[in-house]
């Protein structure tokens, strides 16, 4: 059974802009799926529809056989809790310490009052340290998040996502604000999580060199429609021009 199945998904913004138009695809457990396309092609909207940070206008999303498009608040929260997400701008709480930021990954399963009073269990603390260990920055646990470099912040964000024990990890252009060397380091952590922990990853990327290096499968969006679904190796020059336009030239990140 597919982990995730998207059927006829569309999203139209209140201003009438159709960001997604009739998207259908399935994701198998363990895949490293990369979504490519120009800025504004709908990649971010698609990712946010999957955990319903953005409400789909039409279509259904099924996860583990359960339709999550039309569910109550509580079911939506538990759906979200099972999906980790990392962002282009990391989206940490800047004034709080690294370990606190990681603990916030457990908010979905922590009672409101306990979390507001800062009462996270020792088991949660221990798991937070383990998650920081996975991304190699356990020694920064008590440093303020905004004192870290971009690459370090993104690793903290990955650790936060790991706290959710996610079946699925969404990454919205995780390396778009990072330098090339750091980009590879962050992508390597995502790959390790995908291979070692078996977490399915769906990732938006810009650079085809990264796509070829990390993806097990690629979906391309253009103007809100899906125009390609296949292996990274199948993206020929012809496909590249179809996806990015006739004028486009490939820029590499090594």
């Amino acid at each position: 059974m597919s982990l995730l199945s998207v059927r006829n998904l569309s999203h139209t913004y209140p201003n009438g802009y159709k960001a997604l138009d009739d998207i259908s695809f399935s994701v198998e457990p363990g895949e490293f799926l990369v979504i490519i396309g120009l800025s504004g092609s709908g990649k971010s909207t698609l990712l946010r529809c999957l955990n319903r940070l953005i409400e789909p206008t039409h279509g259904t999303i099924t996860m583990n056989g359960q339709d999550v498009t039309h569910v109550s608040d509580a079911a939506l929260r538990s759906h979200r809790a099972g999906i980790g997400m990392i962002f282009q701008h990391f989206n940490l709480i800047p004034r709080h310490s690294v370990v606190k930021n990681v603990l916030y990954g457990t908010l979905g399963s922590t009672p409101t009052l306990a979390s507001i009073l800062g009462r996270f269990s020792s088991e949660q603390h221990q798991r937070a340290m383990e998650a920081l260990d996975v991304v190699g920055i356990a020694e920064k646990a008590d440093v303020r998040a905004d004192a870290l470099s971009g690459g370090q912040q993104q690793r903290v964000a990955i650790a936060r996502a790991l706290m959710q024990n996610p079946n699925l990890l969404l990454a919205d252009e995780p390396v778009a604000s990072l330098d090339p060397a750091t980009s590879h380091s962050v992508m390597d952590y995502l790959e390790r999580i995908n291979k070692d922990l078996g977490t399915t990853v769906i990732c938006n990327l810009h650079f085809l060199s990264l796509v070829r290096r990390y993806a097990t499968r690629v979906i391309a969006l253009k103007g809100g429609r899906m125009v390609f679904d296949g292996q990274p190796i199948e993206i020929t020059d012809a496909w590249f021009r179809t996806i990015y336009g006739e004028e486009a030239m490939e820029v590499e990140i090594r």
Partner: protein
């Protein structure tokens, strides 16, 4: 209809100008009860000008530029005429009188009160300090009571928080309207209301300040909330957090410092307001000041004024320093 509106406007503005000119030429008219009667001939003259001469100030407001560009001559100067006539009308209704300002008797009075203010009677210093303490604490208590309420309300008054559907939208709009009304009513009016409600004294003053502080702080807080970076909100929501958790973990950390800064500044403002509120029964140094002023004991008033100035200045400096450090 437009034409009529134009004529009415002309009449009002024109009569103001005419009256003014007359009053400048013949200043003695100011004191006479016949002065308002001057408005009548002025009005007639301006209606005539507007109707037959096409010299209309009103048309400046009722016809758009693209519709009919203003021709040269008098009409092109209508804006200036409107501006000048407003100054003139203002001069008259404010009873501005250089004669009074520089009259021998007036200057003597000014000399008397300044003399008294600058030779303060320090016997009242003890009572004044007591009253000042009351005023500062009235302001402090008002701020402390208002802050938690403002904190809670500010979320409901923030557009980016109230996104949960029509009923939240309605609540948001109603709350905003209520806060605007509360803020539009000056604390001195609230002080009058509360001095009837709970009796004259610092408690009435505090309540008045609480109302005004809630309205002002909620507005400032909520604008800060509307300004937060949306990223952490998405990130915390994506973990499956409940709404309260999203507010607490994604919004509050981004707002704490500005909130503190607003609050300290509000306390500073409240000390000044508490002084004024004392005039109408809000207790503290303001009440003491009106008492001595009523008895025409200007040497004592001088002491109070010096003390108020000192305290306000000190608080101003301290709050500016603290806010600077918080940044």
């Amino acid at each position: 209809m437009k034409r009529l509106f134009a004529i009415i406007l002309d009449a009002i503005l024109g009569s103001a100008v005419t009256s003014m000119i007359l009053l400048i030429i013949v200043p003695e008219l100011t004191g006479l009860s016949v002065a308002p009667l001057l408005v009548i001939p002025a009005t007639i003259a301006w209606i005539a000008a507007a109707t037959f001469g096409g010299a209309s100030i009103g048309q400046l407001f009722v016809s758009s530029k693209t519709e009919r560009p203003l021709p040269n001559g008098l009409r092109s100067h209508m804006g200036w005429i409107a501006f000048c006539s407003s100054i003139v009308a203002g001069w008259i209704v404010t009873d501005i009188s250089p004669i009074e300002f520089f009259s021998g008797e007036g200057l003597k009075g000014a000399g008397r009160i300044f003399g008294a203010l600058f030779t303060p009677e320090f016997d009242v210093l003890g009572a004044a300090l007591d009253a000042m303490v009351v005023t500062v604490f009235t302001a402090l208590m008002a701020t402390i009571v208002a802050v938690p309420m403002s904190f809670v309300l500010s979320f409901a008054a923030a557009r980016n928080v109230m996104t949960g559907g029509t009923h939240e939208r309605v609540f948001y709009v109603l709350l905003r309207a209520l806060l605007n009304i509360m803020r539009s009513m000056e604390p001195i009016i609230w002080a009058i209301i509360f001095s009837v409600w709970v009796g004259i004294g610092p408690f009435a003053g505090m309540l008045a300040l609480v109302v005004h502080t809630i309205a002002s702080l909620t507005k400032q807080y909520s604008e800060q909330i509307e300004d937060v970076n949306h990223g952490p909100l998405e990130a915390v929501s994506a973990t499956g957090a409940k709404r309260l958790q999203v507010l607490w973990f994604a919004i509050v950390p981004q707002c704490v410092i500005p909130f503190l800064s607003f609050t300290i500044y509000r306390w500073d403002i409240n000390v000044r307001m508490a002084t004024i509120i004392g005039f109408v029964g809000g207790g503290g140094i303001g009440t003491l000041l009106t008492q001595y002023q009523g008895l025409a004991k200007y040497n004592e008033v001088g002491t109070l004024v010096i003390l108020i100035t000192l305290v306000v200045w000190m608080l101003d400096v301290i709050s500016a320093r603290v806010r600077e450090a918080l940044r």
